[in-house]
Structures are given as structure tokens and as C-alpha cells.
């Protein structure tokens, strides 16, 4: 499937690194949730780092799905950090009133990995 190639879920040590494509559509975001959760089941990882540094636009569906996925990961015993949000995306998101709930955020994937390691 074409959509599969756009989202990569890689396990590095005890972390799942998920990279989002620049302009994700709704179906690929849904697919992301499934892939993340099945990987959580498959590998004993501490947490998930969602790298959205390439994403240029953010809509309410995306924000909700990310917040929901983070909650689901917490339920499965991990934690989620969203990394690398672009300043312009952050501005749009706040102006639209979109929040990621209590999801953790990090400036970049490197710091996100630190945050996950620190938790233990």
C-alpha cells in the first residue's frame, strides 16, 4: 500500500520512532494509530516518539487522533512525546484552539528520547 510507505514506525532500543509525512491525510493518520498500537503490543517499549517536524499543516482530526493515540499508549504502559513541531504549525494550532491534551512535547526527537529515558 502506498500509504504504508509514508508512515514509518521504527523500533530503536526501547523506543518506537514514528515519522509523519509532510501532509498526512485522514486515512494515513488512522493507519498510524493502528500501526503504533500493534507495535506496542509486539515490542516491549518504554514509549513512542512521534516526529512531526516535516508536517506543515495540522487539522483538528490530526490533533485529536494524536491525543487519543497518546492516551492509548499510556493505557498500554508507555508514554508518548510529540517532537519537532514547526513554529508556524504551533501558531496555527493555538489560533484554532487545538491542544494535544496532556501529551508531552519536545523540541526534537533527540530531546524526546531523553524525556522517555528520564522517566525510568
Amino acid at each position: 500500500m502506498m500509504i504504508d510507505e509514508n508512515i514509518s514506525v521504527i523500533k530503536i532500543r526501547d523506543v518506537l520512532l514514528v515519522t509523519m509525512p509532510p501532509d498526512p491525510d485522514d486515512s494515513s493518520i488512522s493507519l498510524l494509530q493502528e500501526k503504533v498500537l500493534s507495535a506496542m503490543e509486539q515490542f516491549p517499549v518504554k514509549g513512542v516518539v512521534l516526529d512531526i517536524s516535516a508536517v506543515q499543516t495540522l487539522d483538528s482530526f490530526f490533533a485529536r487522533m494524536v491525543a487519543e493515540t497518546a492516551q492509548m499508549v499510556v493505557l498500554m504502559g508507555g508514554k508518548t512525546v510529540i517532537a519537532g513541531m514547526q513554529p508556524s504549525v504551533a501558531i496555527t494550532a493555538t489560533q484554532l484552539g487545538l491542544t494535544m491534551g496532556s501529551t508531552l512535547t519536545a523540541l526534537n526527537a533527540d530531546l524526546a528520547l531523553d524525556m522517555i529515558s528520564d522517566a525510568f
Binding site: V81, I82, A83, G84, M85, P87, V89, A90, I91, A93, T94, Q95, T99, M100, L104, T105, A106, L107, N108, L111, A112
Partner: protein
């Protein structure tokens, strides 16, 4: 005839007399014999008919002169006397008007001769009344014609005068028109503003001095050329479409169109236009546009806007005070424009410096209202989305009171009273310890 008379016999003479008498009687012309004192002594039947009197009423009773109309009497009695003085003095034939018994006029052509060796005259009258009437009618119609002609002439003269007066008026009007035209011509030519007129085919009709200065073209070089030559290549199409819309009757109030100088420089000109229509209100005669060179103003405006942008940027500096700590000291009122600027700058700096803590210092902000607080909260959540934390510092007592009174909830924002305590808090967050040198 007279010499023969002596030699003829009495019988013959009588016979002749009878003959003459018969001729006298049956003659179609009225014949009368008039005595010296103008008493009519003898008339014929035709004469009776002519005047309506019977022989008995006339002969020996009526005077010839009395049959005439009053105005002819002197003339005719004159002729009567003259004829008796000398035969040649009086005219042989004349026309005269007489009065019929019933009062109507009788016009007659009279031939008068003296009977030889007597004072009697013999008159021969031919009725010319009809002729006369025709003549009169003719005369009258001729007079009418003449008077008509005169009237017509008078009318024509009057008309002519009127025409001349009108021509004079027209001349004056033309003069004043010329004057006005010259005035307008000068007005257009020497106006400070560039003025251009073009026809429905977008060919230049008029081009004033100011336009010459603006473009460097000479009037003679551009008349009849398309408007396109005036625009810089890049904007030709756009400008022409604007002009099309102006010509189709839409009036521009103010439109900015760039005009290119012959040397290649481009001037920004503010235009307004008006289209002149023919009397039918549809056909376009020409379009006139007047411009105002705003290149300098435009440049000044650009400078001002750039400077104000710079000032805005300077007014919201974002400084790095420690590794992974940035500070945004805010001074002055926070409007939405500045908040936007602050947010952009702050997020940018956070990403650039890889900072984890952003301190927003509001010591210099005179007051915080709902709007300002809302703007700050937005900024704080945007920073959080990036993965950094915000420490709001410099909350003075007055501001703390206002925030509480307004019911603004900042409970999930780290707040400190001063910048220095905020810095301590930020260092704590980053697990950095600052120690005195031994």
C-alpha cells in the same frame, strides 16, 4: 364723302341717309351725337343698352358729361372743349368710366370726332367693362402678387437679419468657445498632473507636458500609439485590463498603475479616469485619465512601513540568557499585532537556540486585560506544543489583582514575581545548579 354729297340726288341722299341711319341703329357700338353744350341729341339702340336708358330719357335731356363718373368729368369736358378749339388737341380715343342707370359702372372705349362743319361730336362707345374688370382683376392679383412678394421680401429680409444676428452670435459663441478651448488646452498642457486622453481603440489622443516629463516621450511621438508603450513590460497585461474596465464605463476612483520612463525607470502613478460618451450614452468617444506621481510617496511609505516593522521587532526582542533559556521582556501595551510578532519571534528563537524554557517578562506591561491575557495564553500553549516550557515573570501586585478579578486562569502556567526568581525557577527545571566559586 362730302364732295360727293352735292352731286347726289335728293333721293340718293335720302337713301344714303336711311342706310346710315340703319348702320347707326344696328351698330354693335353705342353711338351718340353730342351737342356743343354736351347735351346728347341722338343715341342708338346699342347706346340705350349700354346705359339702360331709353332714347326718350336721353335724347335732348341727358348731358353727356353727366353720364361720366365724377372723377372722369373734368377730363372729358376738357377733351370736349379742346376738340372744339382744334381737332388735334384732344385725343381721338380714350377710355372712360360711365354710370349705368342702375348705378353700376360702365367702362367704354370712346372714339370721338366732330361732325364736319358743326359743333356736334359723334361718339362711338365700345363696352370694355368686362375687359376692364379682367384688367382690374389682373391688376389686383398683380398687386396682391406684388404685396405678397413684398411681404415675402420683408420676411426674407427679416430672416436674413436674424440669420446675420445668429451668425454674429455664433461667431461670438465660437470665439468664446475658442477662448475656452484655448484655456482648457493650456490647462491640460501646463497642468502639473500628467493627463492623458485615449480613444476607444486605446490609441493616445492627447498627452500633456507633465506626461512628457513623466515618461520622457515627446507628444508628437506618442499620439496615435497604443497605450501599451507606457507600461513596464511585466505589468502591460494587468494595466491594459484595468484600462479596458475603465473604458467600458467603470470609473476608477483611484488606481495605481506603473508608468515606465523612456530611460527604463518605473514610476508609480495614482490614476483616476472618466469616460466621455457620445450623445447616445453608449458610444465611447474618449477616456481621460489624470495621474499623480506617487513614486516618492510610495518610497517614503515603504520606508515608514519597514521602519515600523523594524521597531516592532526591536520592541519584542527574544534573548538567550542561559543555555536552553530564552527571555522575552515585554515593554508597553500588548496588542494583537505585537502578540503575533512576539509569538513568531519566540517560537523561532526557541527552535534556533534549542531552548527548553522560555521566560516571558511582563514587568514593562502597564496593564493586562482579558484580550492581552488571552493573547499570552495562546503564546504559552504554542510554546508548549513545540516542547518547551514557559515561565511567566514580572507579575506585579496590580497585575495579579487584575488577573484574579478578571477570572483569568493561569494555574497551569509557571509564574514568578520577578525575572530573577523566574530565572532561578528555569534553572531548576533544567536541573542546573549555579554555585559560587570557592
Amino acid at each position: 364723302m362730302q364732295p360727293d354729297l352735292e352731286s347726289k340726288t335728293k333721293k340718293e341722299i335720302l337713301q344714303e341717309l336711311r342706310n346710315y341711319r340703319t348702320i347707326f341703329e344696328i351698330s354693335g357700338a353705342g353711338i351718340a351725337i353730342v351737342e356743343d353744350d354736351t347735351t346728347i341729341s341722338s343715341v342708338n339702340t346699342a347706346f340705350e343698352k349700354l346705359f339702360g336708358y331709353s332714347k326718350e330719357e336721353i335724347e335732348g335731356r341727358q348731358k353727356w358729361i353727366e353720364l361720366c363718373v365724377a372723377e372722369d368729368r373734368d377730363r372729358i369736358s376738357g377733351y370736349h372743349l379742346q376738340r372744339r378749339e382744334a381737332l388735334t388737341l384732344a385725343p381721338h380715343n380714350y377710355e372712360a368710366r360711365f354710370i349705368h342707370k342702375n348705378g353700376s359702372f360702365v367702362d367704354a372705349y370712346v372714339t370721338a370726332v366732330l361732325l364736319p362743319e358743326t359743333k356736334q361730336s359723334i361718339l362711338d362707345l365700345i363696352d370694355i367693362s368686362d375687359l376692364k374688370r379682367t384688367e382690374e382683376a389682373l391688376h389686383k392679383s398683380r398687386e396682391e402678387l406684388e404685396s405678397g412678394f413684398k411681404e415675402r421680401t420683408a420676411e426674407l429680409e427679416k430672416l436674413n437679419e436674424a440669420l446675420q444676428a445668429e451668425a454674429g452670435d455664433r461667431k461670438r459663441a465660437e470665439d468664446s468657445f475658442k477662448e475656452a478651448n484655448a484655456y482648457l488646452e493650456n490647462l491640460i498642457n501646463y497642468a502639473n498632473a500628467p493627463i492623458i486622453v485615449w480613444g476607444p481603440d486605446f490609441k493616445i489622443i492627447r498627452f500633456n507636458r507633465a506626461f512628457e516629463r513623466l515618461t520622457g516621450y515627446r507628444t508628437v511621438d506618442v499620439i496615435g500609439k497604443s497605450l501599451e508603450i507606457l507600461f513596464p513590460d511585466a505589468q502591460k497585461e494587468e494595466s491594459m485590463s484595468l484600462i479596458h474596465s475603465a473604458t467600458s464605463g467603470e470609473r476608477w476612483d483611484v488606481v495605481e498603475i506603473a508608468i515606465t520612463h523612456i530611460d527604463g525607470t518605473v514610476r508609480t502613478v495614482l490614476w483616476n479616469s472618466a469616460t466621455l460618451f457620445a450623445e447616445d450614452g453608449v458610444t465611447i468617444i474618449s477616456t481621460i485619465a489624470q495621474g499623480q506621481d506617487i513614486t516618492e510617496r510610495k518610497r517614503a511609505e515603504e520606508i515608514v512601513s519597514r521602519q515600523s516593522r523594524e521597531i516592532l521587532e526591536i520592541s519584542t526582542p527574544v534573548l538567550q540568557v542561559w543555555e536552553r533559556i530564552v527571555v522575552a521582556p515585554l515593554i508597553g501595551t500588548l496588542d494583537s499585532m505585537r502578540t503575533q510578532q512576539l509569538m513568531e519571534q519566540l517560537l523561532q528563537r526557541i527552535v534556533e537556540t534549542n531552548s527548553l524554557v522560555a521566560m516571558i517578562d511582563v514587568t514593562g506591561v502597564p496593564a493586562i486585560d482579558t484580550q492581552t491575557a488571552q493573547n499570552l495564553i495562546e503564546t504559552i500553549s504554542a510554546v508548549r506544543l513545540l516542547g518547551a516550557q514557559v515561565v511567566l515573570t514580572g507579575i506585579r501586585p496590580a497585575i495579579a489583582q487584575t488577573l484574579v478579578h478578571l477570572g483569568i486562569d493561569l494555574s497551569n502556567v509557571n509564574t514568578c514575581s520577578s525575572l530573577s526568581t523566574g530565572l532561578g525557577y528555569a534553572l531548576d527545571l533544567l536541573k542546573i545548579q549555579v554555585v559560587h566559586k570557592a
